[in-house]
Symmetry: none
Subunit: 231 residues, 2 copies
């Protein structure tokens, strides 16, 4: 599911850092570590991680302070932050949310919990780059400008193909019968041959080009499915 996400772990205690790193790597993430806020700043600028796990309490610059700095710079303002804290204190939570923290984890935590929360934040944060645009493996569809593009260059879609693609991109990994597609994409009360769907599928595939054909999969005896996973 997309490229490997890189996570920066910031904590002054080495054992904790490593425990987290192991857990994340087992879950398929790539880790970088920093033992101080100073070093973290450097690594963030150099590596542009997809997320920062930040210890609340650290010598010199505190986690909250670092978070504030990240938020205030245009370049780093978009990087999600999860705060690790020993306190269960409500005040601090509120305070943290104000600083633009995306989630909290209270020590001690289980590796599984950490991974779950992390994934949840990534899910919430990543897919929404800008607008309501949907993106799948280089395919972008933006309902606001009403445009679709593959690997940067525009797709030439007829109205029906556009609607079909939009439906698929917002309903992935599920097989639909021709009848269902007619209902959802054409609109309930039209009478058209079921085979018409095949023709439009064909047109959509053609427009998508070689590189993205695989996304529109035929499910024999049933209908079609849109998915990044190979059949």
């Amino acid at each position: 599911m997309g490229p490997v996400k890189q996570i920066l772990i910031v904590d002054d205690e080495a054992p904790i850092r490593q425990m987290i790193a192991v857990a994340l790597e087992m879950a398929g993430f790539e880790c970088i570590e920093a033992d101080s806020a100073q070093l973290a700043l450097e690594k963030i600028i150099n590596n542009k991680p997809d997320m920062v796990l930040l210890d609340w309490m650290m010598p010199k610059m505190s986690g909250i302070e670092l978070a504030r700095r990240l938020r205030s710079s245009e370049q780093t303002a978009d990087i999600p932050i999860i705060m690790l804290t020993a306190r269960d204190d409500e005040d601090h939570k509120v305070h943290g949310l104000e600083a633009g923290i995306d989630d909290y984890i209270t020590k001690p935590f289980s590796p599984r919990e950490l991974v779950a929360r992390l994934k949840s934040v990534l899910r919430r944060v990543t897919p929404r780059g800008v607008d309501n645009a949907v993106e799948v493996d280089g395919l972008i569809l933006d309902p606001i400008s009403h445009r679709a593009s593959a690997d940067g260059h525009a797709l030439d879609l007829g109205p029906t193909e556009y609607r079909l693609l939009q439906f698929f991109m917002t309903h992935q990994d599920r097989a639909y019968s021709r009848t269902q597609l007619l209902d959802m994409v054409w609109g309930g009360n039209v009478y058209v041959e079921e085979r018409t769907v095949d023709v439009h599928i064909r047109r959509l595939r053609k427009a998508l080009g070689k590189r993205h054909q695989y996304l529109v999969q035929t499910v024999r005896g049933t209908g079609y499915r849109f998915s990044t996973q190979t059949q």
Copy 2:
């Protein structure tokens, strides 16, 4: 980076308003708040905010209702609106887009996401101000002198073409239906054929000349779009 933008937050729940306000202020925006659509109307007229963040569900007048009202008044028609909604429902999104909503954010959202979307809309909706000229690829429209020029020499535009161009230049990269254009450019309560829009589009294109025709793009089956990007 330009003057400070003023954002009006309309939501009946104080904690949400404040959460948003803090996030926006950290991002360098100035906030006004309103806990009802009624109050919002007042504040909009008095303060002329640069954007309105609007909760979908509110007692008395709903967000969508308020949005409609803003659109129908000449003075408030071009204030960008972002809708906050708890529903993830496609239907509502479409519905909202038609009512002239500029973007949607589904609760729960992270402060960062909110700021990102907000900036994106502000970028797209560009300097809607009364006093500053807008420029797009050699096309200049100056609201003060009420003139438009392309590559230096003046354009010969009728009043309607001028308003159409102004609307387009301040609402780039977004597809509008003929109905929406009638609402936004002609003003809500006139009855004119949809095809009239096509004729004025044609006149505008003609006036723009070969070099700038490409800016006014037709979105088949939908309407028109103004954008520097090739289709």
